[in-house]
Amino acid sequence: MASDNKAKPMTSLLNEDNQLAAFDSSAIPKQLLPVLDVEKSVPLTVVKVDPLALLKIVKHARESFPTPVNGQLLGLEINGVLEVTNAFAVPTQPGSEEDMTNYQVEMIQCLREVNVDSSSVGWYQSTRLGDFMQKPLLEVQASYQASPSGMSSVVLIHDTSKSEQGGNLSLRAFRLSAAYLELAKKESFGTKDLAEQGLTYGNILEELPVHVESSSLAKALVAELQWPKGVEQELLAEMQRPSSFNAKLRARRLADRSAVADDSESVSESTDSALLPSRPAAYLGRPTSSLVLDQSSGGSLNRQLEAISELIDEHVHDANQWMYWKRGEAKVKNSRAQFVQRRAQSNAAREARGEAPEAEVPEAELDRMFRPLPEPSRLESLLNTANLNLLSKGVTQSRGPALTKMFMAQGLHESTN
């Protein structure tokens, strides 16, 4: 399609000047430019997630909680906006690499037959406590971003327990930063490399803002779930009949956010068609209010704190190891310097005695004699630090709402006394 539109202005240029015009990007209609952007010069700015993909991720993560799961994201990337329109689960059972690839290829083929976006735009992973910074994650994401078709792949991280307890969806989109990719290519994570690339625990991954965008039909569905037509009148009508035991039961079920379908009544009402006149099917109301206002933080705070203290231990261990290496390195350097100095001194002494000085020891020889200790890879400790940072940040952030809720409870208590 793009080439058709482009063909015309180019041929017209040819006819006019009777010579091949240079490729002129201004001849391309402006709205087509992003489509033709093969080199991906437009950086990703935002990730748009369709409720369908969102629900699929949430469902998959919830069903196998607390085991972390992952899956593929399907969608489109246009003009710096990554649209995630569908997703599918990847089996968690260990299988051969080939099986996995086959599964994904087959799945994408099947989905293409029913017009689902068939290009992979990344993958998703669920996490339990929020410490998702693991080596495999970085490796998989690096392989996604290295493939030519997946330059703009993202990884979506969904935190099930946080979503459930906080009553607020926890979904974050990440990409590996250029600094990390550069170092990963060289596979060297020494202190010097890190400092050169400016890579710290905070910028291994770049976060992208996540938007949720639904189609008009999906919006209609949400409206239907939230407030089915007629449910208000029905509730009111039931209220007017105080004798009806049903009213109380129904109202309670409605208030419980659970869906209500009282089709036993509709059976008697409809006789004319096979399909019944639709009844208020469900009630979503304000779904998360009661979740959000829930006081208890559950056991998750305990688990988070445990994880934090474990990570701190590891962090200290890593730091000690690094110090050990540093000391070892200093020792080697020291003895090397001493050797050179001694040689210089003895040469000076020889010269004073009028003897021929000993030959200078070449650098390579020196290196061989005093082999510098290789620095252990800093990646592990970097990830550890990143996780620690993530966890403590999460806990700090969760304290704000907890405080607010406490003062609410106090207000309630004072007003009742």
Partner: protein, 299 residues
Amino acid sequence: MLNLNLPTLASSIVKSGATTMATTSTQQCYVHPVVLFSVLDHYLRRNDNQERVIGTLLGVRSEDGRVVEIRSCFAVPHFETEDQVEVDMEHHRSMFALHKKASAREQIVGWYATGSKLSKYAALIQDFYSREAAPFSAVHLVMDTELTDGQLSIKCLQGSPIGAGAHPENCMFLPLPYELQYPDAELTALQAAADSKDSEEGYAVLISDMEQLENSIEELKAMLQRVTAYVQGVCKGEEKPNNVIGKYLMDMLAVVPKIDSKQFSTLFQTHLQDILMVAYLTNLTRAQLNIADQLQRIV
């Protein structure tokens, strides 16, 4: 490809008598919201000139088969003409096999279709799915994507054989009571979808926990104000009193726990200290990490 012909064409590819199989009838149905969104997505991505889309419903059943939980679904291409319907069986089979790998527990429980009324081939397709879902009866979910009466109605049906001779085309669809399931995690996702509906830009930005809490408190305040206004109205005699509402209010007030003031303040203080302590420690940890990072650069 499975070709299902209308009986007027006299060809009987479909073996009759299948519906007489002793199927346990389904009595209650639970639907997961992801199914509804999948159906809508499939409908939006249908081919040109295609009026309805169909697909397979997957889920789990209780042991006796009376309660069905529809957990997911996938689209199946099909082709309708005046007197014949084709369902892409191969696609159905391979998709099911693929789904089985990722979530082994989910079985075929029925099928879905869109449209305001049943297609004339519904009975034939229902017969096919009944055999797939055997030994239980198949559930048929219909979504009115044409928005008749400005409503997106959702119905669950089950087929029941009718007439003297057992022919697959003789089938009556009976309504099946169903409920939508909203697990906590999904509610948060639906809330995000609802926010995207209400926002002016047409999309929702994910907000922080604190903002979410603020919204909830605002809502709670609005609700309390509404109730207060109503109660005052009743007291002044402006509103008509309603015993049922009064009872609800009574129930609600009774739920508020009565705690001794002293006890409450001790509880409050200790909890407050805990929270502040945790916040302090985690902040300290982060500060330490930052210092360590900065120091390492100097080294």
